[in-house]
Amino acid sequence: MKKQILAALVVFFLVGAAAYGAFFVAPTERTMGPIQRIFYLHVSSAWTGLTGFFICFIANLLYVFRRQPQWDWLSVSAAEVGLVFTTVVLISGPIWAHPVWGIWWTWDARLTSTFILWLLYACFLLLRTLVEEPDRRALFSALFGIFAFVDVPLVFGSIRWWRTQHPQPVVMGGSGSGLDPTMWKVLFFSWFAMLALMALLIRARYLMEAARGELEIVRREAEAV
């Protein structure tokens, strides 16, 4: 218990420091002004959300091949936490876009594919509520998770090719794009803080799911007696 409180305190400090960095250390962007500071929350949450879905995918694969319930618990924890971070992305995006682009939403490749990604994992969690038998639920959701993850690059490709009036991506974009070195540092630190927060949340959620799984096993045994 003590360890958990300590870990939570460390994460709290890291996220606080990241916020401090975003507000006071990073330079103000020339054209967008202070509103651009939401970038550090927005982009680091996006990367963290994707990391969560990637962990979920690995856990799905391991469950299908090994059939140990731990991987199922990990997959649902990672998917839920990834979904929360992606929700942050989808909410912070329009808050940023409205003053800068003059609109809340545009059907651009990144926005649309993030939205589809969010829908896919929301359906992943929904599927879990609709299959009762635990082994079957674990297997089916793992398989759907694999299909969904395989689908993500295809969704992105199709939308990027045909449905976009795309502004050059700032990070890893073509020539003419790029960030001030201090901005890079703050961004990476924010990502690190978000990853720490993700790890903390996944661990807490995993323990909850494990307790639930064990309870289910005991209950089944009790019913069999």
Binding site: F140, L143, I146, V150
Partner: protein, 224 residues
């Protein structure tokens, strides 16, 4: 028996089952017809608008119809308790999926082609000059829909609220198919028709990727 010959036998069985009742085909045809007519009320399709919006709503109608049509694919086996027998009858469970998805592709393609002249007349778009290319897009699109749909209908058949679940799982997964097939169809129905080969290539990639995924993981979908 080799994979192909057992797939052939199972495909024959799927087609026979359907042609005895013709339930799926008739309901799907009527459903697509209804959607096409209802869509025309939401906007007044003039000549240019039909060319711009027509392909999108045609593909939406196909996707909605498919998400309903694919429901009974595994549910039928479950209700008749024939899934175990089916699994015992073939060495490779992939044959079951191949047969079912081939049957579903044929059913979808058949209904789509039946609805194409109706769409052309109601929305006033000429389809005859590009019929061959349209059939190619319809085939590749329907194949993608059937591959993903057959896999997911094996999942949804064993869940609660399965009628709602299948469209929920299927539609977001099929976004790439919807986007690519719509783009190709828009090009073909343009005032100066052109073939968007990039879209065709994309559909082929989608089909191959999902067929491989189904080949690798399909057997787990049929576990008891």
């Amino acid at each position: 028996m080799s994979l192909l010959s057992s797939t052939g036998v199972l495909l024959g069985k799927e087609l026979r089952t359907e042609f005895r009742s013709r339930e799926l085909l008739t309901t799907t045809v009527v459903f697509i017809l209804m959607v096409i007519v209802l869509f025309s009320f939401t906007f007044d399709p003039t000549y240019t608008e039909s060319r711009r919006f027509g392909p999108g709503l045609l593909w939406l109608a196909f996707l909605f119809a498919a998400s309903l049509m694919l429901q009974p694919c595994f549910l039928r086996e479950q209700n008749n308790d024939t899934l175990s027998a089916l699994r015992l009858s073939v060495a490779d469970p992939f044959a079951i999926f191949l047969a079912k998805l081939a049957a579903n592709t044929l059913f979808l393609l058949f209904t789509e082609l039946l609805m194409l002249p109706v769409f052309a007349v109601l929305y006033n778009v000429p389809v005859l000059p590009v019929l061959g290319q349209l059939i190619l897009v319809f085939f590749l699109g329907s194949l993608g829909v059937s591959i993903a749909g057959t896999a997911l209908s094996a999942i949804s058949a064993q869940a609660h609220m399965r009628e709602l679940l299948l469209p929920l799982l299927l539609l977001p997964l099929l976004t790439p198919v919807l986007v690519a097939s719509t783009q190709v169809t828009v090009g073909l129905l343009d005032a100066t028709p052109f073939m968007e080969w990039k879209g065709i290539g994309f559909l082929v990639v989608f089909d191959v990727v999902f067929l491989t995924a189904l080949w690798l993981f399909g057997e787990y979908l049929l576990e008891e």
